[in-house]
Amino acid sequence: MLNIKDLHASVDGKQILRGLNLEVKSGEVHAIMGPNGSGKSTLAQVLAGRDSFHVDGGSVDWDGKDLLALPAEERAREGLFLAFQYPVEIPGVSNAYFLKAAVNAVRRHRQLPELDAMDFLKRVKAEMKAVGMREEFLYRSVNEGFSGGEKKRNEVLQMALLEPKLAVLDETDSGLDIDALRIVADGVNRLRSPDRSMIVITHYQRLLDYIVPDKVHVLSGGRIVHSGGPELALELEQRGYAWIADAAKAGGDSQTAVGAPGGGAAR
């Protein structure tokens, strides 16, 4: 489904990703963990197509398509969704307009009839109920004045409406209390399906109590240095990240030894 090979990327001339390899199959949920500054958010932004993140090398194959060749909006229409770590506030644009424009941009691309106002409202209200958002959030400006939890719910709402094939959740748990975390995780779990893959980026193991991944990867220094099953998250919680980084250094730079997903040395 998604195959990232030797991906290098930089921001403002600073190298962040340094040869990242990752393969995610259809229906799988992969967690990417790692210390601050390891490149987690850069990976998310590069996958979503942000222009200010420069790809210096490598490839990303997505169902036979060259993902990196597509502009951000094409990726979204093809079914890639990024849940932002910091959702952007857009004063002056109502959430309802924004959501409808997004849904219909994707539907047009998939050659489905656009939703009219009535159908859209019916659909969006049902989804809002599921993520515990009150209807008033439809008529407020996009994310403006939303609390951290409300912004994240709005991201999950968008994900539900856009029905992506690949969802990337960038630190969706950050800044959430336990109740909000549970609601967001429930929203994500409802969307798990055999034809939808997810990459869940998180700094803490906490989220993975609620969204149980198929695979866990450790990102450090711009590449995947270790991979394992869900139990790896618990180990990271107990032991921190330092031992992995040390082990990776001790094991040398061989990508095949430490970089292949699911085949880490610690298994």
């Binding site: 197509g49 222009d51 979204a76 952007v88 002056g92 109502s94 307009y97 424009a101 941009a105 994707v106």
Partner: protein
């Protein structure tokens, strides 16, 4: 013959046929005003306030005297039909090329104590009331003096104490002829506790009058009595060849509230001078402005708020959207006089540049001579926010749609301050009509 001589000749030829020609007080003002204009000429960039907007080029232009027609010509009729398409309630006064057009106007029913009509009619019927409101030859800059000398039409609105006019009073000025100069003068007197909303529209038929520029040189004077509440909206939507000079001069008595919303799409040159003076304690004002200029259009707002008495509150927000090789100027002066204690003034101006050739000049000027005052100001000039653009694109909106949406959102903040919903909708649809891809934004209100 210099252009000044031309204007003097115009004055001599037409003085006898201007409205109120037999009135000695008016004759004296007009004479003094034309002399002042002859003396000062058009303001050039040697004057600080005209540094970015010199009117020196007007000395090279010759304008015909508006042979205004009170007949409802087809282009004017079409403009009015479009303007009134939504059937919004209101009192309508229409002026075509400077002349009052009764056939296109519809004042409708007014509460007792409210007078809404043309200046010429008021001069004929209540010259003493007009005299009290007309203003002196020395008010404003030299274009305002030229207006005082040559003004023959405009609106006269008088509200007796406590009278509230619910529906907006629309003053519509349509320019259908090229090379013509008009000098509308609108006089508004609101006695104690009176309330009204006035809307000035400056319009041209689609495509504008063919050929060279027309000159609109307008003056609006508003006298807001104690506790009066006046809202004023100005929608300037003229042709790219037009020259538009406007002076809005307001005096507020104790407790009076005045809101101004100026929406400008520029012209070859559009200059707005908005001045309000707090002559009593506890006055409030909101000066809200939005301009969108593209191509080679130029829009300039100069505002001045004079806090002369204690406990006045002023809020001023100007937003500019600049595209192409357009230029936008905002200069906002706030004066807090000695003794104007507990003044609360806030001013913000934000500009959005959509092209590298566009230019924005933003100049806040605070002059504070009192203690115990709260004054804040800020100015920004920026581009479309990259993070917002990416957020929208990451949801499938194409880049052009996302840009237009963010541009409209920038404008929407100014539109949201317009209190009356029908006027807000009118302003919103006017700005959408100017934005590329505006039809995609139709559902935004």
């Amino acid at each position: 013959m210099s252009d000044i001589d031309t204007w003097l000749a115009t004055f001599r030829t037409h003085a006898a046929s201007l409205s109120g020609a037999g009135l000695p007080w008016l004759g004296a003002i007009r004479q003094r005003a034309i002399e002042r204009f002859a003396d000062e000429g058009w303001p050039t960039n040697r004057i600080e306030r005209y540094r970015h907007t010199s009117l020196a080029f007007l000395a090279q232009q010759r304008f015909a005297v508006a042979q205004g027609t009170s007949q409802a010509t087809a282009p004017a009729r079409a403009v009015i039909a479009q303007l009134r398409a939504d059937g919004e309630a209101g009192h309508w006064l229409v002026f075509v090329d400077g002349a009052f057009a009764p056939a296109l106007s519809e004042v409708g029913a007014l509460p007792a104590g409210a007078q809404v009509g043309s200046l010429s009619d008021a001069l004929a019927r209540w010259p003493e009331r007009v005299e009290a409101a007309f203003g002196s030859a020395d008010a404003g800059d030299s274009p305002a003096a030229l207006n005082a000398a040559l003004a023959t039409e405009g609106a006269f609105v008088r509200l007796a104490p406590g009278v509230a006019v619910e529906a907006p009073i629309h003053l519509v000025f349509v320019a259908t002829s090229p090379d013509v100069a008009c000098h509308p003068r609108n006089l508004v007197v609101a006695e104690a506790g009176a309330q009204a909303t006035l809307v000035e529209h400056y319009l041209a038929p689609p495509g504008g009058p063919a050929g060279a520029a027309s000159l609109t040189n307008t003056v609006t004077r508003i006298d807001a009595g104690p506790d009066a509440r006046i809202a004023h909206l100005k929608l300037q939507q003229e042709a790219e060849t037009a020259i538009h000079l406007a002076s809005i001069d307001v005096v507020q008595a104790r407790g009076a509230a005045f809101d101004s919303h100026s929406l400008s799409f520029g012209a070859r040159l559009a200059r707005n001078d908005i001045v309000t003076r707090f002559d009593g304690e506890g006055c409030e004002t909101l000066l809200n402005g939005l301009f969108h200029v593209d191509g080679r259009r130029h829009a300039d707002h100069h505002t001045r708020i004079e806090h002369l008495k204690p406990r006045g509150t002023s809020r001023e927000f100007y937003r500019g959207i600049l595209d192409g090789a357009a230029r936008g100027v905002f200069a906002g002066r706030i004066i807090v006089a000695k003794g104007a204690m507990r003044t609360d003034a806030e001013q913000r101006t934000d500009n959005l540049l959509l092209s590298a050739q566009a230019e924005a000049d933003a100049r806040p000027e605070l002059e504070i001579y009192a203690d115990d005052v709260k004054c804040a100001h800020g100015a920004t000039v920026g581009q479309i926010d990259e993070a917002s653009l990416f957020y929208l694109r990451s949801r499938g909106l194409d880049e052009a749609h996302a840009r237009n949406l963010l541009t409209y959102a920038f404008a929407a903040e100014a539109l949201a301050r317009i209190g009356l919903a029908p006027l807000r909708r009118r302003a919103a649809s006017a700005i959408r009509a100017r934005l590329p891809g505006g039809e995609l934004l139709e559902e935004l209100s």
